[in-house]
Amino acid sequence: MGLTVWTIVIGTTAAAACSLVGCYLVLRRLSLLGDAISHAVLPGLVAAFLITGRVGGWPAVLGALIVGVLTSVLADIVHRRTGVPEDAGLGVVFTSLFALGVVLLGLADGTDLDPGCVLYGLIELAPLDTAPVFGLEVPRTLLTLVPVLLITIGLFVLFWKEVQLTAFDPAHAVAAGIHAGLIHHAVLALTAGVIVASFEAVGSILVVAMLVVPPVTAGLITRRLHHLMPMAVFFATTAATGGTLLATWWNTSVAGMMAVVAGVQLGCLLAVSSVILGERQSRGERGVSPGR
């Protein structure tokens, strides 16, 4: 298979996994926690590299599970124990962890860990590093990405009822006997795992685009979780495919282009929906009396 095809396979797999967990994050208004985790896993990635000598892979994914929960727990501690506002508490934790990662990255300089790859993703090069699977040379990244995607889908199917309840109404979920805190932290751990598995494709910053933008776009069309998730996956995978093709054509950053295409999708849908809803909305908005 051609390199571009493999690039698209990697990109769509990562995008699908990200957008699935992203649906939960967006509904629970945790988008920024997703952003924070994506920054915060950097030191874990670099540490895993320094120890195992490999970029990504299962050790990094497992390490990320811990970092994911740790970010939210630390931010919570900073917020509660010091009275710093919640958003600033999150900012304190993830910028510090990210800076730590960057410094570690600088110290690892000279080895074959490329800062550009970790920060912005070098999906262009991912297909070159292959491993044989049943006689077919498959990009090594997929060996983590595909299982992570399957696990994500499996967990959501298995715990569908719980996820649905906690996503829309955590208070009611608790009343119904569901351990909302447990689900919450499990999803955060999953988010971190997905982020790390995907970072090679989209990098540790742009992974946010895949986490948040497709679910928001899908949310303009539907408010029901079992419609939202497939639709978000649709937008995510098309953005990944379109982004890869455009970037290859113009010879520029694939990860960046994926984010841009996802943004364009959102913009188009917003325009369409505002034309459809515009009538009703303007009736509600019009208002401040001329006397004021």
Binding site: G83, P85, R280, Q281, R283, G284, E285, G287, V288, S289, G291, R292
Partner: protein
């Protein structure tokens, strides 16, 4: 002829296409203590905010016979306690001083005169000696009194207070009622969103009964009736005493 203190004509407020206040017409003469009552979510806070121009609305509002923007110096406001961040790094004295900022205008810093006013207002609400305390380290009643002191420092003619007696103890409530009486005796008009129906009839001159629409408004003796209460509170009870008892237990 003295214009009414508050004149509201066809006031409508919607939040995200939901009508919260529906065609309110109202005229109130002062000086008076005016209670605004209604169940939770009736739109009482929204009513105050609409009058003060804090939320978009349609219709006309005149305070002291003029549009609100021309009389802002003469208006005092006590917001609901939940509306601010009590971790904010200001002291009780700082908050009281904020009442004088409107008169000071751009760039001028509060001086000795303003500090004296703020100090005086703090003693009127019984917060002497607490001026350097961070506002988060106060009890609920003290926080409420800090807001009152700030409103007093505005030296206004018309006051709008949103549940100044929510979650305060009996002694704070007594302090606040005495203060309200003082204000009325000094010729001011005070609108108070009030939850406790037991004290409405005895402590206020006029009442505005609100539940999305204006149910009734006027002098206490004429308007504060079982029938109107039933309408305001969606007829959960049959007598005035029962209504009052009910309001006491649900608080």
């Amino acid at each position: 002829m003295v214009p009414p203190v508050l004149e509201v004509d066809d006031l409508n407020t919607t939040y995200q296409r939901r009508v919260v206040l529906d065609a309110i017409d109202l005229s109130v003469d002062g000086p008076a203590l005016v209670a605004i009552v209604g169940p939770n979510g009736a739109g009482k806070s929204t009513f105050l905010k609409s009058i003060l121009g804090l939320v978009p609305c349609t219709g006309s509002v005149r305070v002291l016979g003029q549009p609100i923007d021309s009389v802002r110096r003469r208006i005092g406001y006590v917001p609901q306690r939940e509306s601010v961040d009590w971790d904010f790094p200001v002291s009780v004295g700082d908050v009281a001083l904020m009442g004088t900022y409107g008169r000071l205008g751009w760039f001028r810093r509060p001086g000795a005169a303003e500090r004296r006013v703020a100090q005086e207002c703090l003693s009127r609400v019984g917060l002497d000696g607490l001026e350097d305390r961070q506002i988060g380290r106060l009890s609920g009643g003290q926080q409420q009194r800090t807001f009152l002191a700030r409103a007093l420092a505005q030296q206004a003619d018309v006051y709008f207070m949103d549940e100044p007696m929510a979650g305060v103890d009996a002694s704070t409530q007594a302090v606040i009622f005495d203060l309200l009486d003082e204000l009325r005796d000094a010729g001011k008009t005070v609108f108070v969103v009030h939850h406790d129906l037991r004290t409405v009839a005895s402590r206020f001159d006029r009442v505005v009964m609100l539940n999305r629409r204006l149910i009734a408004a006027g002098p206490m003796a004429e308007v504060f009736t079982t029938e109107n209460l039933q309408q305001t509170y969606d007829s959960q009870f049959v007598t005035l005493d029962e209504a009052i008892a009910c309001s006491a237990t649900t608080r």
